[in-house]
Symmetry: C2
Subunit: 283 residues, 2 copies
């Protein structure tokens, strides 16, 4: 029975455990919190759980499901403190790939960067659920040194999860793509909330708050999300995000310019184009 | 039985008709399209329907539910072509109030600007539904010359619809409030779509389209909406929208600046603030 390690038993780690254990693999879970280990056992997200990485020494594939800033330190500890078989694959689930893959591939040649794009607004082991990854993208980002047979083993796992595999992009391509469709929206949306709270006339401010409905709710949703996640996106994907923000600024300036100059014909063309092309991203 | 006129039998006009007819009022509907008149009769959104405004000559309250650019021309025709009783109240449902209220109050002193903030993604008479306005804001914007007893009659209608009445704001206050929470989000969201389609690397562009999920979908939704609506917002609410866009540009520049300068502490504060304050708009 293939032995799978999972470090970090939150929403993603816990959900991976639930599906992989149910598919017959033997799951070894690690959390810093003994209570989380207990819960993961009760929920049958793991077969074994411990606060120590030691429990992973015999595993064949290890998923690092910690917050993004703990991925590299965890791989450092795994490779220094355990006497892992060189065949052991280490993979992660971080939402940014280039800086992680670069460093972790140095630490462990058998590292494969991964990014399952699934989630809920909830966090923690209690948010874990079966089939979280079904029909959701799961990106694997190989680099030149990545062993093909390790990627192949992870493809099998992705298939077990029912996820949609994307394995034809580099870490840098992945990071720019998610900057556009995931990290840029957070900053655009947060800026909307910030702008609205700057209305200083208290009558108008109060009325705006009362009248806000689905349009404001949807456009502001990701900007009102977990601040730590937003910070991590900006921190770890800074360059790609700045590229996207710079283009966004230009698009916004164009809209402002068209409205200032009452160029209604071109504004209509602009809005027709955005209506039409949104479908490429949201089918 | 109070006689109610409705000009424009689309989503809003049709839904008003359904509720008000069901509450026992006698509804006279006008559409330029004879087929729409027929359908409105079949759906029981009206008691009488015609392509001519003549049918409204005996009504006591007339709702103008046309597209926003047809509101003033319709009030002009009503007041010129029909010999309306001066007691007849004319009201509209346009999403911008100042330019409409200013002109229509000159044309007809018994005009009361209104804005029921309800809708669906659908348009037209077939989209009309009962209870569309229940627990949705319905703004009435009086000006100095607006007869109080007319406002009072409309309050009763708003109550029949089960809507939430807001009648303590001027047309200008209304327009700035909706600029913030309704019109600004459209431009912010359309700019996001426009920015994303500027990625010129075809691998990254394709990947971005494939990976886009709920975050992108929600943030881009109103920017991918009806271009005519977006254009009308910008056209009719230009000044208030430019005030909001100017503040939005500042908020965005602040975010870009914090990321460029790797000022993570202040970016986290910024995102904590937007997370916290969003709740004032979305309860």
């Amino acid at each position: 029975m293939t032995k799978i390690g999972i470090v970090g038993l939150g929403l993603i780690g816990g959900s991976l455990g639930l599906d992989l254990r149910a598919s017959g693999l033997e799951i070894f879970g690690v959390s810093r919190n003994p209570k989380t280990c207990e819960i993961a056992m009760e929920l049958e997200a793991v077969n074994h759980a411990d606060v120590s990485l030691e429990i992973l020494s015999q595993t064949e594939i290890i998923f690092i499901c910690t917050p993004i800033d703990k991925i590299i330190p965890t791989v450092e500890r795994l490779t220094l403190e355990l006497n892992l078989n060189p065949e052991t694959i280490i993979t992660d689930v971080g939402s940014v790939k280039a800086p992680i893959v670069e460093r972790c591939s140095q630490l462990w040649p058998n590292f494969v960067g991964g990014h399952p794009m699934a989630g809920t607004a909830e966090q923690g082991i209690y948010a874990a659920q079966k089939n979280l990854f079904v029909n959701r993208p799961y990106v694997l980002t190989s680099v030149e040194t990545t062993p093909e047979k390790s990627v192949e083993k992870l493809r099998e796992i992705v298939q077990k999860l029912g996820a949609l595999l994307y394995d034809q992009c580099s870490p840098i391509e992945h990071d720019q793509a998610v900057a556009w469709i995931s990290h840029l929206p957070v900053m655009v949306s947060a800026s909307l909330i910030d702008a609205c709270i700057h209305e200083s006339d208290s009558n108008i401010q109060e009325l705006a708050q009362k009248l806000a409905s689905s349009g404001f709710r949807d456009t502001s949703r990701v900007g009102g999300g977990n601040p730590e996640l937003g910070l991590m996106m900006a921190h770890y994907n800074r360059e790609a995000l700045l590229v996207s923000l710079s283009q966004y600024r230009q698009s916004l300036e164009q809209v402002i310019d068209l409205i200032e100059n009452e160029n209604w014909e071109r504004l209509e063309e602009f809005l027709e184009k955005t209506q039409q092309l949104r479908g490429r991203f949201c089918s």
